[in-house]
């Protein structure tokens, strides 16, 4: 599980993320990205949505709310600053190779060791926020956690690229999500 405090500290940074991505290339070594800005969130725009909430959520799954769940308690949407940004998409495609994503998920994300990213069958959800989560915190079936290892801007560019591969579809899969069920049948 991600460190909740770290994520909280990141939120304002993510919301305010700028389009200052570095160019990519071959990374001979993946070091730690610069530490995320820790911004006091009391005065930040949108901070009220999660102030005091230990049940902080970034990704909305309204179908999971109990009946009568208060309408004002909305999860905080993660916004991809590079949504539909062609330059970020191109950079994301290069990062996809440089960080060895391609050797797990296949050329054009068609799947190999890891699942396809191109068939619209999302194991952990296909929204920008869900894909960000998958890359940032990793997944228990072997997806590495890239949060803190690469810049958050780069994660978002990867999100932009990955989400471009499937034509915006989100369809069901027999390889359905679940800690133990995932990819194993058990």
């Amino acid at each position: 599980m991600p460190d909740l405090r770290t994520l909280r500290a990141l939120v304002p940074h993510l919301l305010l993320a700028t389009m200052t991505a570095g160019a990519t290339g071959v990374f001979l070594r993946v070091g730690l990205a610069p530490a995320a800005n820790v911004v006091e969130r009391t005065s930040q725009s949108g901070a009220g949505a999660f102030a005091g909430a230990d049940s902080l959520r970034f990704v909305s799954h309204p179908e999971t709310y109990p009946v009568g769940w208060p309408a004002h308690d909305r999860p905080l949407a993660l916004v991809n600053p590079y949504e539909r940004n062609a330059q970020a998409l191109a950079t994301g495609a290069k990062l996809f190779v440089s960080y060895n994503c391609v050797d797990c998920h296949g050329a054009d994300g068609n799947g190999a060791i890891g699942p396809s990213l191109a068939d619209g069958r999302w194991h952990f959800g296909g929204s920008a926020g869900e894909v960000f989560e998958s890359i940032y915190q990793g997944r228990p079936d072997g997806m590495p956690a890239w949060g803190g290892r690469i810049a958050n801007d780069q994660v978002w560019m990867l999100v932009t690229y990955v989400r471009s591969l499937n034509g915006g579809r989100n369809v069901s899969t027999e390889n359905f999500t679940g800690r133990a069920v995932e990819r194993s049948g058990h």
Partner: protein, 622 residues
């Protein structure tokens, strides 16, 4: 190890010259078009069988006591109730779902009327009571097994089976552990951590037990790990020795006083280190994920090593010893006695991990203690298992990366048009990275003197690219789309004479033959196909005799046993997966109009004929 194609999935490209006149698309045709028999070479029936299994099976012939049936890995059974005359009456006697839907490589064990089954990840083990109608479970064992392993296994989350020793069922977990389970109770007796899954080190191979030692090897050649073979005390799980396959002599357990490689290029000091640039050997691969054989008279264990890492050869000039090699180690100490590197400086992902079948046979007029090895690189090697000398090496599939094996040096003669060192696109390399044959093991019958070999007819394009080592991620650096080879068929089930290096006959299949083989004294050879057929053929002539469509593609290895009722049974897993079937077993792209997955694959049409599964099918004659 082969990993799934990183950048495959471009459909059939009949680009190579060798494929220019291929029919193409045969894989998309009905599988009924398979089973075409083509006799080439000597008629099998004329062969006088002077070859014998070097290490026959211990114990009752009605058991299946170890992964390959015996230490020779012959996969031959003395049972003879099922014959070419009556095999057409074979029918399903019972079946069992394993509850897991991934590639079911490997085979069950049968010992004293109990069957032991290990599933793909999460590596659940079952003990099945064969004495009671309905085959109830004696126990089920669910190991602790890190889920991260599922995403660190290059070529599906397979397991190739267990071994048995003094009341213990011993097998490997995908997350790098070896476990021993009480055969009577299903209680875990010991577990030993052998690999680091966070670095991509997994274990898929079937261990064997030699003189109370469990022989274990690692997987992860696509993740920049460093390969090893280890021995554990079968009673306690204590590590007795671990020998690395790359690195300095000390780590390799090489003692110059008794290390005697046959060929000059394998002789020297610290070659496992000096044949690599800098410290690249530390991420050099050379894992041992295949089958292990054992000769008690010589007290040697035989196994092969995988590809070097990364695939991009510009990053590792040199022979890269001892990747893509066959090794013989002292079973007690692990010391390396001889090694022959069959593909030095591998540029094509030709792991040498395929089984080494130990036979004594006459070659060129002289009796030899041999091991027979069908390598990924497309050559069938008959090797002196005392010295490591290559007695003969002939291609058993179409090979164009090399024009032959120089028996004076032991090295392949390269075709400069098919080398991959320039990061240029090289088209039409045959065989593909799946090899002329992959891990699916062949069988040998002393009756016919023939080896029964499941082969693959794929070629590939190859383009290397720069790659960084990032721990826990793949370390590959190449794109290698595959396509059907000449003739437009996917694979062929062949019979091979290892004393002459010639093919006796073959049966073409629309898809690569990815199951192992069983051959019996009754004169029947069994194999399965990716499109879900389980087949029986006449071991002498190759005449197809019988087939049955099981619930999923077959990548497992058939076995036979005698039941408590005295009948001969034949068992096979159905459960597509492994490297070739990963395209279907995994949630990766397929090519079906009615499937949401869209882009083409190496084997378009396969998903039309089969789907995921995880079942054991058991057959008998009434």
């Amino acid at each position: 190890m082969t990993r799934a194609r990183p950048a495959v999935l471009v459909g059939i490209l009949l680009a190579c010259a060798a494929c220019a006149d291929a029919g193409g698309g045969a894989a998309a045709k009905a599988p009924e078009s398979g089973g075409v028999k083509s006799a080439t070479g000597a008629a099998a029936s004329a062969l006088a069988s002077n070859a014998r299994i070097a290490v026959p099976r211990p114990g009752p012939p009605g058991d299946w006591p170890m992964p390959g049936g015996d230490y020779s890995n012959s996969r031959y059974s003395e049972l003879e109730d099922v014959t070419p005359a009556n095999v057409k009456s074979l029918h399903v006697a019972w079946a069992l779902s394993t509850g897991v839907l991934r590639g079911h490589e490997g085979q069950p064990l049968v010992i004293d009327h109990t069957m032991y089954i290990v599933t793909p990840y999460p590596n659940v083990a079952y003990a099945v009571d064969l004495k009671t109608e309905g085959q109830p479970l004696k126990w089920r064992f669910r190991p602790e097994n890190a889920q991260a392993a599922a995403g660190r296994a290059c070529c599906d989350v397979v397991n190739r089976g267990a071994s048995y020793f003094e009341g213990l069922v011993i097998y490997n977990l995908l997350d790098g552990h070896t476990v021993a389970v009480d055969a009577a109770t299903g209680v875990e007796r010991w577990r030993t951590r052998m690999g680091d899954v966070s670095l991509g080190e997994t274990i898929t191979m079937a261990p064997i037990v030699v003189k109370g030692k469990v022989i274990v090897g690692s997987s992860g050649g696509e993740f920049g790990v460093r390969g090893w073979l280890g021995a554990l005390d079968a009673r306690t799980g204590k590590l007795l020795w671990r020998a690395y396959n790359v690195g300095p002599d000390k780590d390799m357990l090489i003692d110059p006083s008794d290390f005697k490689p046959f060929y000059a290029h394998d002789q020297g000091t610290n070659l496992g280190q000096t044949s690599w640039p800098g410290e690249s050997w530390k991420q050099g691969g050379g894992v041992s994920w295949g089958w292990v054989s054992y000769d008690p008279a010589l007290n040697l264990v035989y196994y092969g090593t995988s590809n070097p890492g990364p695939w991009n050869v510009r990053m590792r000039p040199g022979d890269n010893k001892w990747t893509c090699a066959i090794l013989a180690r002292d079973a007690d100490t692990g010391k390396l006695r001889w090694v022959v590197q069959v593909t030095p400086h591998d540029m094509w992902d030709y792991d040498a991990v395929n089984e080494n079948i130990l036979v004594d046979l006459t070659v060129k007029g002289a009796p030899r203690k041999a091991l027979v090895h069908f390598d990924r690189n497309g050559y069938a090697y008959t090797i002196d298992r005392v010295t490591g000398e290559i007695i003969l090496a002939e291609p058993f599939v179409h090979v164009n990366w090399s024009t032959g094996i120089d028996l004076k040096t032991g090295r392949p003669i390269l075709n400069p048009e098919k080398t991959t060192q320039d990061e240029r696109l090289v088209k039409g390399i045959c065989p593909s990275l799946e090899g002329g044959k992959n891990q699916q093991p062949a069988a040998f019958s002393p009756q016919t003197g023939l080896f029964y070999v499941p082969t693959v007819n794929l070629c590939m394009d190859f383009k290397a690219r720069p790659v960084s080592y990032i721990p826990g991620t793949p370390y590959i650096g190449a794109d290698a789309p595959e396509m059907l080879g000449a003739g437009g068929f996917g694979g062929e089930f062949i019979a091979w004479d290892a004393s002459t290096g010639t093919k006796a006959w073959g049966i073409k299949e629309p898809f690569p033959v990815w199951s192992g083989v069983l051959v019996t004294k009754g004169g029947v050879a069994f194999y399965g196909t990716l499109d879900g057929w389980f087949k029986a053929v006449d071991a002498k002539t190759g005449t197809p005799l019988w087939k049955f469509k099981v619930g999923s593609g077959v990548v497992g290895n058939p076995i036979t046993y005698r039941g408590p009722d005295g009948k001969q049974y034949v068992a096979i897993y159905a459960g597509i997966g492994g490297d070739m079937g990963l395209l279907i077993a995994g949630d990766v792209a397929a090519n079906l109009p009615y499937d949401v997955r869209e882009r083409g694959t190496t084997l378009p049409g396969l998903a039309k004929w089969t789907s995921w599964g995880g079942e054991l099918f058991v057959f008998a004659i009434d």
